[in-house]
């Protein structure tokens, strides 16, 4: 069941079009993550959903009801801000109860809700403190608590973890996932961090310059990126793109010419012979020991990063195109050496000159 529907949503500041027609339906209880490069309009979109930013065009509906003109507090939405935005002059308790007091909820009910939220977030011992007396992680919890007490249908998070250090970030990420499971509300979450996106999302929405490039489950996005942009954006290290030329195009596949080396991919490609294509290869799919698949030739190693669990190799193919390879485990490889690299055919992605995915 859909709780939130965006229908051709647009936003412009003056004559600057920031959001250029976004269509999206979000189901009840779904965890949706917005990702995209800085300035693509993630926050703006979120703020329009929240009611903090007027909508320039299109329709926003929640539970089937048009919401464009509704005040933020009447949309059944709570928002967690990147900087937490806790009221500095109020105690933790007051920070959480303020919205409920504004809504004129009876005192005992407020108290019950605040204590329950504090219990869930394990901040009961902090209730009398002021935000100034809290650590970053504690402030983050209070900010989430402030959202929980309102018992919203939809939670909005704008990069909630970006001000935390790495360890806390992982910990809080796990807690947010647990919170989602426990209370089952719809959550929309904005982040820069791929790991957050991949681990938290039921569905990832990739935005670029105010339009949705692709949305789907994390694995769909990873396995079948709709275009070069999405392919490059999701996955780390970034996907390699090699320039190839198509030939021998038939229904069951296409041959590609990679630095004089021919290979056949079982991808249904509607392109003409001689079309310039982009071959996308994820670094972690490229191997040195495989026997089958595509032979990429010899890789001259330029630089090696030993990460412990993984060895990342940066090098050049015989035709000079650079290629990054991520190998499992620790490998005794040093700069200057050469490696024979291969990749399984099913892990190859093809993109046409416009950057769109070719095949299934």
């Amino acid at each position: 069941m859909t709780t939130l529907a965006l229908n051709k949503i647009k936003k412009s500041f003056g004559n600057l079009d920031i959001i250029r027609g976004v269509d999206l339906a979000i189901g009840s209880g779904e965890f949706v993550v917005f990702v995209g490069p800085s300035g693509c309009g993630k926050s703006t979109l979120l703020r329009m959903i929240a009611g903090l930013e007027p909508i320039s065009g299109g329709e926003l509906s929640i539970g089937g009801e048009r919401m464009n003109e509704r005040a933020a507090s009447e949309r059944g939405i709570a928002m967690v801000f990147q900087s937490y935005a806790l009221y500095p002059h109020m105690s933790v308790y007051k920070n959480m109860s303020f919205g409920l007091e504004t809504a004129k909820m009876p005192k005992p009910e407020i108290d019950k809700r605040v204590r329950k939220a504090a219990d869930i977030l394990q901040i009961t011992h902090l209730l009398e403190r002021k935000p100034k007396q809290l650590s970053g992680g504690q402030r983050q919890r209070v900010a989430i608590g402030r959202a929980i007490v309102r018992d919203p249908k939809i939670f909005l998070f704008d990069e909630p973890l970006s001000n935390l250090d790495a360890e806390l970030r992982v910990q809080t990420r796990v807690e947010i996932a647990k919170l989602h499971k426990d209370i089952g509300a719809t959550m929309i979450y904005v982040t820069h961090d791929q790991v957050e996106a991949m681990t938290l999302a039921d569905r990832i929405v990739v935005l670029r310059a105010g339009v949705i490039e692709q949305h789907g489950t994390p694995l769909e996005i990873y396995n079948r990126p709709a275009n070069r942009f999405v392919a490059g954006f999701i996955g780390s290290p970034k996907m390699n793109f090699l320039d190839v030329v198509a030939s021998d195009v038939r229904d069951d596949g296409v041959s590609i010419d990679l630095a004089g080396r021919k290979a056949r991919l079982p991808i249904e490609a509607r392109v003409v012979d001689g079309a310039k294509l982009s071959l996308g290869l994820r670094p972690e799919h490229i191997g040195t020991d495989e026997t089958g698949g595509l032979d990429l030739g010899a890789l001259t190693v330029v630089h090696v990063e030993h990460l412990g669990g993984q060895t990342v190799v940066y090098g050049r193919l015989v035709d000079g195109q650079s290629l990054t390879v991520a190998l499992d485990g620790q490998r005794a490889i040093s700069a200057g050496s050469t490696l024979a690299v291969r990749i399984a055919a099913e892990n190859c992605h093809l993109f046409d000159e416009a950057g769109d995915r070719i095949g299934k």
Binding site: L86, Y87, G99, R146
Partner: protein, 297 residues
Amino acid sequence: MTDAALSTTTIAPRTDTGEPSVSPWKRALLYALLLAVSFLMLYPLLWMVASSFKPDSEIFTSTGLVPADLTVDAYRRGWSGLSIGFGWMFFNSLVISLLVVIGNLFSCSMAAYAFTRLRFKGRGFWFTLMLGTLMMPQHAVLIPQYVMFLKLGWVNSILPLVVPKFLAIDAFFIFLMVQFFRGIPRELDEAAIMDGCGPLRIFLKVILPLSTPVLATAAVFSFIWTWDDFFAPLIYLNDIEKYTAQLGLRTFVDSTGTSDWGSLFAMSTLTVLPVFILFILFQRLLIEGIATTGMKR
């Protein structure tokens, strides 16, 4: 981040040396010089206070600060030196100053909130006009204002001194508050919007409680400037029982001429006393207020 953004610009003494460090000798010399200058600057004020405790004969013979013969006689003479006691005039001054403080805080904070936080057509236009009035000398509007208050029957009452302050006539304070409000993170307003607050509740529950430093600064400056104001009471108050302390002191100069400096100094000391107490209590606020806005009278 939130907290840092909220604190006003602090100009606390800095611990590192300003320009590359000064040699000890030069430093000692500098201290001596600064001490001498500050002593010289304060001397007249100190002498005035000291003289108010001296018998009259001593004022014209002693340049020293320690009265040979400590007496509060001058205070007794001065306090009832006019047909209306000075106590009454102090009371008038106090009432006017407090009302002005309330008026300024109320009206200027509202205007500053509108200018910094609310979106409405013409905001930029009005803001520019407000800045324009900051530079405009009062003389341009003085006479028509007077005529207007005269027609309203307000002359010889405190209304002309007080009512304009409830209409945000002191653009300086709007400016001061605008500067401060701009430093309050806008996300706090947005959090409050999500919490169901309208503009009024955001103003009362979020912006004002976070603005106590600037409100205090505005209150202290309002009080001191009104307390010290001479021109407006001079033209608007006619009856001696409506006089402020400043007007009373001026009248006292007229009536005693230069015959009784002792009681003049005693009453002068008393009129400066409230300002001095506020200065001691709120020194930091006053100095930071001046440093951050870069404006003063």
